[in-house]
C-alpha cells in the first residue's frame, strides 16, 4: 500500500521525534511523577504506529529492522528475569532494590532495579502493540 501524502509525511517526521522524546521522558520520570513503563511503552508504540500510517510499512521496516515479536519476547523475559534475580539473593520473588548515587551530570539520582523491570514492561507493550498492528495491516 503506497501512500503519497506529503503533508502527513512531513508532519510525521517532526512529530515522531516529539512523541519519542515524550515517551522517553514519561518512561524515565515515571518513578517520581506520572508516567512509567506502560505509558512510555504505549506512547512509543503510538509513535511507531503513526510512522506506519504516514509511510508504508516496507520503508519503515527497512529503516527499523526490528522483529517486534522478539521485542515483545525480550520485554516479557526481562520482566520475569528481574523478578527471578531476587530469588538468587534469597529474597522474595520480584523484590526490588534502590539506592541513590551522585552522578556527574544528573546530580543526586535515585537508581532502582524497578527501572529494569519497567523497561521490560515497556518493551513488552511496544512489541505487542506494533506486532498486532503490523500483522493486521500486512494481511491484505
Amino acid at each position: 500500500m503506497k501512500i503519497n501524502d506529503v503533508i502527513l509525511q512531513t508532519v510525521t517526521k517532526i512529530v515522531v521525534f516529539i512523541i519519542l522524546t515524550m515517551a522517553v521522558y514519561l518512561f524515565i520520570s515515571g518513578h517520581n511523577s506520572p508516567g512509567g513503563g506502560f505509558i512510555g511503552g504505549l506512547v512509543l508504540a503510538s509513535a511507531l504506529v503513526l510512522l506506519f500510517l504516514a509511510f508504508d510499512t516496507e520503508t519503515i521496516m527497512k529503516r527499523i529492522p526490528l522483529d517486534f515479536k522478539m521485542v515483545a519476547a525480550v520485554g516479557a523475559f526481562i520482566a520475569v528475569a528481574t523478578g527471578a534475580a531476587s530469588l538468587f539473593l534469597d529474597i522474595p520473588f520480584l523484590s526490588h532494590a534502590y539506592s541513590y548515587f551522585n552522578l556527574p551530570v544528573f546530580g543526586k539520582t535515585g537508581l532502582a532495579t524497578v527501572t529494569i523491570f519497567e523497561l521490560g514492561v515497556a518493551l513488552g507493550v511496544v512489541g505487542v502493540v506494533v506486532t498486532i498492528i503490523l500483522s493486521i495491516s500486512e494481511d491484505v
Partner: protein, 800 residues
C-alpha cells in the same frame, strides 16, 4: 539421603532430554542413551542392598506444599527396594530389548519419553511416603501406560485398549484418593509410616477406607472383575507389555496391598477380601488363558492369574498380624514371604516369556498358535528360553517357579488346617481352587511351548520364512532365563538380602528373627508336594485330551461377558451425557450469555434481597460541578446511542467518545497516569477498530423477533440495576478501613514518589509481570490467528 528423591527425578529429566537428542543423534542410537538411566539407577540402588538387609531404612523429605502437610518424602526400605530393583532391572533389560525390537521408522522419541516417564512415575510410587505424592505418581503411571498402549494410535484396537486401561485404572485411582483422604481424616497425617502407628481400627471410616483402597489396588493389578483391561492392553508393543503389563505397573496394586498391610491387615475383612479375590482371579485367569489363540492374550490372562496368586498370598499373610507370636503366625508370615518370592520369580519368567513371544512374532510374523508350530529347529535359542519360562510358570523343577509354587500350596493348605477367623468354608475351598487353577496353569504353559515350537511347521500359513532373532534381541531374555534357573539353585541369596527385609516392612509388628527358615527345594513328601505331583499328572492328561473337553468354553454365555458390560455401559453413559449436554449447550453465544446473566441476577440479586444487605448512605459523596454533570450526560448519551447506531463507523466513534470521556474523568479524579494511558490506548484501539472494520462487512440490521429484543432489554436493565444496587450498598456500609495508607509510604518502601507506579512496579509487581505475559500471549494470539491459515488443500485433507 537425597539420592532417592533424585532417583525419581532422573528419569523425568532424561525424558526431557530425549527430544533434544532426538534431532542430534541417529535414531537408532537413542535407545542406548536411554538405557544408561535404568542401569545407573539399578547399580545405585543395588549398592544399598547390604545396608537395607541389615534393617536400615533411608528417609528424606523435601517440603512441597507444607501448608497441607504434603512433602516430597521418600522412604527406602526392604519392600520399596525389591520394587525399585524390579523397575530399574527389568527396565534396563526391556529397553535393551526394545532397541532391537522397534524399527528406526517408528517414532522412537515418543516411545522412550513415555517409557522414561513411566519409570520415573513408578519409582515415585514405590518410594513415596506421602499419600498425596504417592497418588500423583500412581496416576502418572496410568497416564504413561495409556500413552504406551496407544503407541500405535492409528490402530483402532490400540485406542480401544488404551482407553479401557485408563478408565479402569483411573476409576480405581480416584477410589484410592478418596480412601487416602479418609485416612487423613482418621489420622491427621499424610505419611504412611506415621499412619501405621496412628490408625484406629474401630473408627467409622476404617472399613470404607479399606474397601476403596482395595478397589484401587484391584483395578490396577487387574483383579477379577476388573481384569478385563489387561488383555486389551496387549495392543502395546511387546517391550511395553513385558515391562508395564507384567513386571511393574500391574504390580503397583500388589505393592499398595503390601504397603498398607500394616495399616489394614489386622482386620478380618482385609484377609478375606484380598485372599478370596486373589484366588478367584487366579482361577479365572488361568481358566481363560487356556482357550486363547493369540499368544500375547494367553500371556495376558496368565499374568492376571499369577497376579491373583501373589495377591491371595498377601491376603493370607496378613493374618499373621492378628495372631500373637505363635506357631500359626509363622505359617502366615511364610505366606507373605512366598508372595514376595513369587513376585520376583514372576517378573523373571514372565518377562522372558513376553520377550520370546515378541521374538516369535518378529521371526514368524504372527502370534496365532493355530498358524505356528515346529519352530524348535528354526529358533532353538528362543525355544530354550520359552521352555525355561513356561516350566517355571507351571511350577516344575529346576526352576524358581517350583519353589514359590510349593510355598503357595503350603500356605493354602495351612489355612485350611488352622481354623482362622472361625470360617470353615475355606478348609476345602482354598486348596481346591488353588489346585484347579494350577492345573490350568500347567496346561497353558504346555500350550505356549509345545503348540509354538513342536508339531508340524506350517510355512504356508506364515507371511515369511521363520528365523531366529538377532543376537541383541536375545540378550535380555537369556539373562532372565539364567535368573530363573539361578534362583532355583541359590534361592537364599535372594531370600536373605531382599525378601526378608521386605517382609519386615510388611509385618513390622512381628519379630521375624528365625521365623522363616531358608528356602529349600525338597521338604519331603508333604501335602504341597503331593499337590504338585497331582498337577503334573492331571495337567498332562488334560493337555493331551484338550480337544475333547475344550467344548466347555462354549458353555459360557457369549452375551453376558464383562467386556460387553463395559462396552454397553460406556455407550449408555455417552448417550445420556450427550442428551444432557445438548439440552443446554445450544451452540449460540446468546444462550450462554443469558445463563451467565440470569445466574448473576439470581445469585447477586437474591443475596442482596435475602440478607438485607442493601443500605444506602449517600452522605459521604464528593461535591459535583456542572462540568462533571455535562461529562456524565455525554457518556450516558454516547453509551445509549451505541446499540442504536445505524452504521458501524458511528458506533466506533461513539465508543471512542466514551473512551476519551473516561480519560477526562480520570483527570477529574486525580489520576494522571490513568488519563495518559487511557488517551493513548483509546487512540490505538480506535485505529485498530477502524483497521479491522475496513475489511469487515457493513453492519446489517438486526432482524431478530420483537420478543427476543424485549427479553434482551429486560435482562440488560436487570443486570444494570443490580450493578447499581450492589455498588450503592458497598458505598453505604464500610466494612473495613482502606488499606491505601500503606502505599503512601512508597518513598520509604520502594524509593519512588509516584505511588501508582510504585504499586505497579514494586508492591504488586507480580500482577504487572503476569500482565506483561498476558499481553505477550495476546499478541502471539493475534499473530498466529493471522499468519496461520489452512489452505484449500489442507482443508480437504482434514475432511478425509
Amino acid at each position: 539421603m537425597l539420592s532417592v528423591n533424585l532417583a525419581i527425578i532422573i528419569p523425568f529429566l532424561a525424558a526431557a532430554l530425549v527430544p533434544l537428542l532426538y534431532t542430534k543423534i541417529s535414531r537408532k542410537h537413542i535407545g542406548w542413551f536411554v538405557l544408561i538411566v535404568p542401569v545407573t539407577l539399578f547399580v545405585t540402588l543395588a549398592r544399598y542392598i547390604p545396608s537395607v538387609a541389615q534393617g536400615e531404612t533411608y528417609f528424606s523429605s523435601v517440603a512441597w506444599i507444607p501448608s497441607y502437610g504434603i512433602h516430597f518424602t521418600t522412604y527406602l526400605d526392604g519392600l520399596s527396594m525389591i520394587f525399585g530393583l524390579l523397575i530399574t532391572g527389568i527396565g534396563s533389560l526391556v529397553i535393551l530389548y526394545s532397541i532391537y525390537y522397534l524399527s528406526a521408522e517408528e517414532s522412537l522419541g515418543h516411545f522412550y519419553i513415555y517409557l522414561l516417564l513411566f519409570m520415573g512415575a513408578m519409582l515415585g510410587v514405590v518410594f513415596s511416603d506421602n499419600l498425596m505424592v504417592f497418588y500423583a505418581f500412581w496416576e502418572l503411571t496410568s497416564i504413561s501406560s495409556f500413552l504406551l498402549i496407544a503407541f500405535w494410535y492409528h490402530r483402532k484396537r490400540s485406542r480401544y485398549g488404551a482407553k479401557k486401561a485408563l478408565l479402569t485404572t483411573v476409576v480405581g485411582g480416584i477410589a484410592m484418593l478418596t480412601s487416602f483422604i479418609m485416612i487423613y481424616v482418621m489420622t491427621g497425617t499424610m505419611s504412611i509410616r506415621e499412619i501405621i502407628a496412628a490408625i484406629d481400627p474401630n473408627h467409622m471410616l476404617f472399613i470404607p477406607a479399606m474397601l476403596l483402597l482395595l478397589l484401587g489396588a484391584f483395578t490396577k493389578s487387574a483383579q477379577f472383575p476388573f481384569h478385563i483391561w489387561l488383555p486389551d492392553a496387549m495392543e502395546a508393543p511387546t517391550p511395553v507389555s513385558a515391562y508395564l503389563h507384567s513386571a511393574t505397573m500391574v504390580k503397583a496394586g500388589i505393592y499398595l496391598v503390601a504397603r498398607f498391610t500394616p495399616i489394614f491387615g489386622s482386620h478380618e475383612a482385609w484377609f478375606w477380601l484380598v485372599s478370596s479375590v486373589g484366588l478367584i482371579t487366579l482361577f479365572w485367569g488361568s481358566f481363560n488363558a487356556v482357550r486363547q489363540t493369540d499368544l500375547k492374550a494367553l500371556l495376558a490372562y496368565s499374568t492376571i492369574s499369577q497376579l491373583g496368586l501373589v495377591m491371595s498370598l498377601f491376603g493370607i499373610g496378613s493374618a499373621a498380624l492378628s495372631m500373637g507370636a505363635g506357631e500359626e503366625t509363622v505359617i502366615y508370615a511364610q505366606a507373605t514371604f512366598a508372595a514376595l518370592f513369587h513376585l520376583v520369580n514372576h517378573s523373571t519368567f514372565k518377562g522372558a516369556l513376553f520377550m520370546v513371544i515378541g521374538i516369535v512374532n518378529h521371526g514368524a510374523g504372527t502370534r496365532d498358535i493355530r498358524r505356528l508350530g515346529g519352530l524348535m529347529s528354526l529358533m532353538p535359542i528362543s525355544f530354550t528360553i520359552a521352555l525355561i519360562g513356561s516350566f517355571s510358570m507351571a511350577g516344575l523343577p529346576p526352576f524358581n517357579g517350583f519353589l514359590s509354587k510349593e510355598m503357595f500350596f503350603e500356605a493354602v493348605v495351612s489355612v485350611s488346617q488352622s481354623g482362622i477367623f472361625s470360617l470353615h468354608i475355606s478348609k476345602v475351598l482354598f486348596p481346591a481352587i488353588a489346585w484347579i487353577a494350577s492345573v490350568f496353569t500347567f496346561i497353558y504353559c504346555m500350550i505356549i511351548v509345545f503348540k509354538t515350537f513342536l508339531g508340524p511347521y506350517q510355512p504356508e500359513k506364515l507371511d515369511h520364512e521363520a528365523h531366529e532373532a538377532p543376537a541383541g534381541m536375545l540378550v535380555s531374555p537369556i539373562i532372565l532365563a539364567i535368573l530363573v534357573v539361578g534362583i532355583f539353585f541359590f534361592p537364599n541369596v535372594l531370600g536373605d538380602y531382599l525378601l526378608r527385609p521386605a517382609m519386615a516392612s510388611i509385618l513390622p509388628s512381628l519379630q521375624l528373627e528365625g521365623m522363616v527358615g531358608p528356602i529349600s527345594a525338597w521338604h519331603g513328601i508333604n501335602p504341597a508336594f503331593l499337590m504338585t505331583v497331582g498337577v503334573i499328572i492331571i495337567g498332562t492328561l488334560l493337555y493331551l485330551s484338550i480337544r475333547r473337553w475344550k467344548r466347555i468354553y462354549s458353555l459360557l454365555p457369549e452375551k453376558w461377558t464383562l467386556d460387553n458390560l463395559y462396552n454397553n455401559s460406556l455407550i449408555q453413559m455417552e448417550r445420556i451425557s450427550n442428551r444432557i449436554t445438548s439440552f443446554y449447550m445450544t451452540g449460540y453465544l446468546r444462550s450462554y450469555s443469558i445463563y451467565i446473566f440470569l445466574f448473576f441476577i439470581a445469585a447477586v440479586g437474591g443475596t442482596l434481597l435475602f440478607t438485607g444487605a442493601y443500605t444506602f448512605d449517600l452522605s459521604g459523596d464528593a461535591p459535583i460541578s456542572l462540568y462533571e454533570i455535562v461529562l456524565v450526560l455525554i457518556m450516558m448519551a454516547a453509551g445509549l446511542a451505541i446499540p442504536l447506531a445505524k452504521t458501524r463507523v458511528n458506533a466506533i466513534l461513539l465508543n471512542g467518545a466514551l473512551g476519551y470521556s473516561m480519560a477526562l474523568f480520570f483527570v477529574v479524579f486525580r489520576a494522571p497516569d490513568l488519563a495518559l494511558t487511557q488517551l493513548v490506548v483509546e487512540t490505538v484501539s480506535t485505529a485498530l477498530f477502524l483497521l479491522c472494520f475496513y475489511y469487515l462487512p457493513e453492519w446489517k440490521k438486526e432482524n431478530s423477533p420483537r420478543r427476543t429484543k424485549r427479553n434482551n432489554l429486560i435482562i440488560s436493565i436487570a443486570v444494570g440495576a443490580i450493578f447499581v444496587l450492589v455498588a450503592l450498598s458497598v458505598r453505604g456500609g464500610k466494612l473495613f478501613e482502606t488499606i491505601s495508607g500503606y502505599f503512601e509510604d512508597a518513598y520509604e518502601l520502594a524509593g519512588g514518589k509516584n505511588i501508582v507506579n510504585a504499586i505497579l512496579g514494586d508492591f504488586r509487581a507480580f500482577d504487572t509481570m503476569l500482565e506483561v505475559i498476558v499481553l505477550f500471549i495476546g499478541g502471539l494470539g493475534v499473530y498466529t490467528l493471522i499468519k496461520l491459515k489452512t489452505t484449500k488443500e489442507e482443508r480437504n485433507l482434514e475432511d478425509q
